[in-house]
Symmetry: C2
Subunit: 537 residues, 2 copies
């Protein structure tokens, strides 16, 4: 930008712009420090006519759509996945056309797509709530567990008119919010208020809502971890804000240092960015680390001191695989420090898509909103009301997730067996893949303490980097594409999540079923060895 | 704006701005024609430092949230509904505390909240898909109809891995889109492409997506009917665009005249607004009219000529109550005029919340996107992918709605009886309420040819208008509040939808169950008579 600047007779800097639209475009990009200084004493000279903006409507094309949409990127379902879908179609129409017979989607935390079975009790209750007419029938006793029938009745009684097909209160059905608040209290040991709960279609719409609330222009910044789950970068781009990166330290197991937060905050301020909020993903996505309690206390103190909204992505709260780490919600940490509503604006995101249940397709979730003024809360409610309500099955499931069967319930034993079976298997899969990555030449991989991902670093040979540059793609995307074409394994290049410049990674889920892990490890190892043989410097 | 303008020695106009932020604020407002002319040869002079925007983060309050959120309004769940909820709580805690014993929510098209039963076949299929484990069990044969079991199997076979708990393709499950496309073809007699279908959590997120795509700034306008369903005004406000109103003609049964569209388009252009799209709601909300085919042809020609995207809200396509009118989709009209992909950009919105099924809580729906460039389509897909997918139960229900039981299926007769029963009853209720409104002194009400609403006009006495002004609320809101307090009936003031200035209306759904209509009519009539006795000029 600013290629056309001149000085006028008074010695002022002048930027020549082609049009009003052009001027606005210039102003919509983030400014470098030099550009900011230049602008601080600048005159903008628009010499051309504005009349062009009054001309007849342009057709819809990439030049005329919202540039924020263009800017938005979401690697988890990006080009690599499109390529995978093409390969899958080719495998179907021409079996044997590739050196593998199935595509293994390790790009996304979507457990049931890879064969994970749903939790029986949850599905029983959903099924009964979808068709309450069968609740009284004798056949139902044979098909469903007694506590599922009882829970379905309880839930139906919480819904006005037992109408599971009606729009609910825009925050979600009050009785279900009571259940969720009770679940949060049981988890944290601190009170939770059902009026703080906003039920949402998964966590993503909740994140969008907070970005929409907080971001006024590209001068508003949101501190986000790098690497980050690209929903955050996408949502910030769509809402026209600025992502202020802070780097997780790979050398200390993706450590989150408060000193790094302070440094990046100061850096953003010096560029004129007003930082509104801090995003923390715990357990980490794509990085899999689980924060230590002391570390969380430091983060809370930092947000309090700097008056930042703490956006706590806690959707992997049930996914912790190492005995030395425990999940603590940021609300628990904040309350245990003695901080209340006035001290910290905190939003905690939870989802039915993750945990041991992995009910991605149900699109259920909630945010717990604490520490906001009543009038701001009213605005959040208004935004929710424009979309009427989240889907009722997702609402019901969110309540089940926060209040599963208890000791003594008919389903308790089978529920616990399903839950423990899935979590133990995930831990084994995480370890097997971590070991496999660490056995590869020029690859190092931190432990997945939690969440559903590994994020190995690949030390790519210069020759591979040059080969990638020659075809104009990022070196890690080059690696991932080659991996997919050779093995059918879909992973996401680190560049989609952000990484320290000059380092290369990819994200791989730990979700393929256990009996497939040996084959994956062997295909991956063979591919990697061949890749290194081809490109080793 | 532009209070500080001067001329420099070269004779150029200069606008003095306080800060970079100030300059951007100026540029974010719509410009008058004079201002546009002025700007066409303007120099913008920023003399103050940019440092002020570097100050520490402000707390979150109404001054620091996104002003677009503040600007957004959604009357359907606005103040009157909050008051109704308070009254309902008072009735529960203190029975007899009000002159009525229940709140009748006529504010929102939410049929099942008022006792409408769901369609059995739809719920059977949803229930089975939620818990496929019971499909093979013998008890299931006794509980579910055979064709529901068969349909559930069909649907499960369309889902990769039969995983109803997995994220689907971001446009929705391909097999379900095939079913929907076939349903559209059967409805219209013209081809439909499953790749044009984007399944969504109800129609609202689809409308938001199109607004997000099309609106770049407040210079972009969207032509909307007045009165309109306030999702449109809310979404345009949230995305920072300009609502360009066109008025429906109450005198001709809420007629939509192309001459009015032309007039308002020209008017908008003269103000420097670039009109991107035309919203048409057919059947109308809140107005209930069903467009004549010839009228629709004129609208298509207008959009084609003016290169406007036609956003066709067709969620009430099953809700037509008069024999002389038939629903025609805009896609059918466009194709029957011989227009194809290159001629018209058209988006049709459909929802499972309306029709005879009224499954609002399921949050299912789709948009059919035709006439967009491949690269723009890719951007729409990318936006969908950021949110992963819509909820699978809603997706399944959308496919059922577009492909209900057919002659010969076990459920066909009971399904048809349920469907016809609901639609015939809605027609009777619409007529009864219309007659009741027209019998009131100073009230006139057009026929509800379709949709779920009546929008009577009330000729309020001057004395009532003054009384409303004295308490600083709109006269129609004053009337609706008095009605609620006296009768428990919740309707939405016309000012929430827009109306010709100086006219007053309210929107009342036709959804209370039939046995309640006589009591409603009598309470309404008594209230109105008392109101007129109090305020008659």
């Amino acid at each position: 930008m600013m290629r056309k600047f001149v000085s006028d007779r008074a010695g002022r800097n002048i930027i020549l712009v082609r049009s009003f639209h052009h001027l606005k475009q210039l102003l919509q990009r983030p400014l470098s420090a030099t550009q900011s200084r230049f602008l601080s004493s600048t005159v903008l000279d628009s010499t051309s006519s504005m009349a062009s903006s009054n001309s007849s409507a342009p057709p819809v094309n990439l030049d005329t759509i919202n540039p924020k949409v263009l800017k938005c990127e979401y690697a988890v379902r990006g080009e690599i996945v499109t390529l995978a879908q093409t390969l899958q179609q080719e495998l179907q129409s021409k079996p044997g056309s590739h050196p593998f017979d199935e595509i293994l989607y390790c790009n996304i935390g979507n457990p049931q797509s890879l064969g994970q079975e749903p939790i029986t009790f949850f599905r029983e209750v959903l099924s009964l709530c979808d068709h309450p007419a069968i609740l009284d029938r004798s056949e139902t006793q044979g098909l469903f567990s007694a506590d599922a029938v009882e829970r379905a009745w309880q839930i139906l009684d919480q819904i006005p008119g037992r109408a599971t097909g009606a729009y609910s209160h825009s925050q979600g059905i009050k009785g279900l919010r009571d259940t969720i608040a009770a679940g949060i209290e049981a988890r944290d040991g601190f009170p939770a208020d059902p009026n703080d709960i906003f039920l949402t279609d998964g966590a993503s719409p909740a994140v969008h809502a907070m970005m929409q609330l907080l971001i006024r222009s590209e001068k508003d910044g949101i501190l986000c971890p790098i690497p980050q789950y690209p929903l955050y970068s996408a949502s910030i781009a769509l809402h026209g804000g600025t992502l202020v990166p802070y780097y997780l330290d790979e050398a200390t197991g993706w450590g989150l240092e408060v000193s790094e937060l302070e440094k990046q905050l100061d850096n953003a301020k010096s560029k004129g960015v007003i930082v509104r909020a801090l995003v923390v993903i715990n357990p980490g996505n794509p990085t899999g680390q689980v924060l230590a309690e002391e570390n969380q206390r430091g983060i809370v103190e930092f947000c309090k001191k700097e008056r930042l909204v703490l956006l706590a992505d806690e959707v992997y709260q049930e996914n912790v695989y190492v005995p030395e780490k425990t999940f603590h919600s940021f609300k628990k940490i904040s309350r245990s420090l003695g901080y209340g509503e006035e001290d910290l604006s905190l939003v905690s995101f939870q989802s039915v898509s993750k945990g041991f249940y992995g009910e991605c397709g149900k699109r259920g979730g909630y945010m717990e909103v604490t520490g906001f003024n009543a009038d701001v809360r009213e605005q959040i409610y208004k935004m929710a009301s424009v979309n009427l309500c989240s889907n009722i099955s997702g609402q019901i499931l969110a309540s089940l997730v926060m209040s599963p069967p208890k000791v003594g319930d008919e389903s308790y034993e089978s529920f616990s067996a399903e839950k423990e079976g899935i979590l133990a298997s995930l831990a084994r899969r995480a370890k097997a893949l971590e070991d496999a990555f660490n056995n590869l030449e020029g690859v190092s991989c931190n432990k997945a303490e939690g969440a559903m991902y590994l994020f190995p670093r690949i030390y790519l040979p210069q020759k591979a980097i040059k080969a990638a540059e020659a075809v104009d793609i990022a070196p890690d995307a080059f690696y991932c594409r080659r991996l997919l074409n050779a093995t059918g394994i879909v992973v996401v290049p680190g560049s989609g999540f952000g990484q320290v410049p000059g380092t290369w990674h990819f994200r791989c889920t730990i979700l393929p079923q256990e009996d497939k892990i040996p084959a994956i490890v062997s295909r991956l190892t063979d591919f990697h060895q061949g890749f290194m043989d081809e490109f080793r410097d």
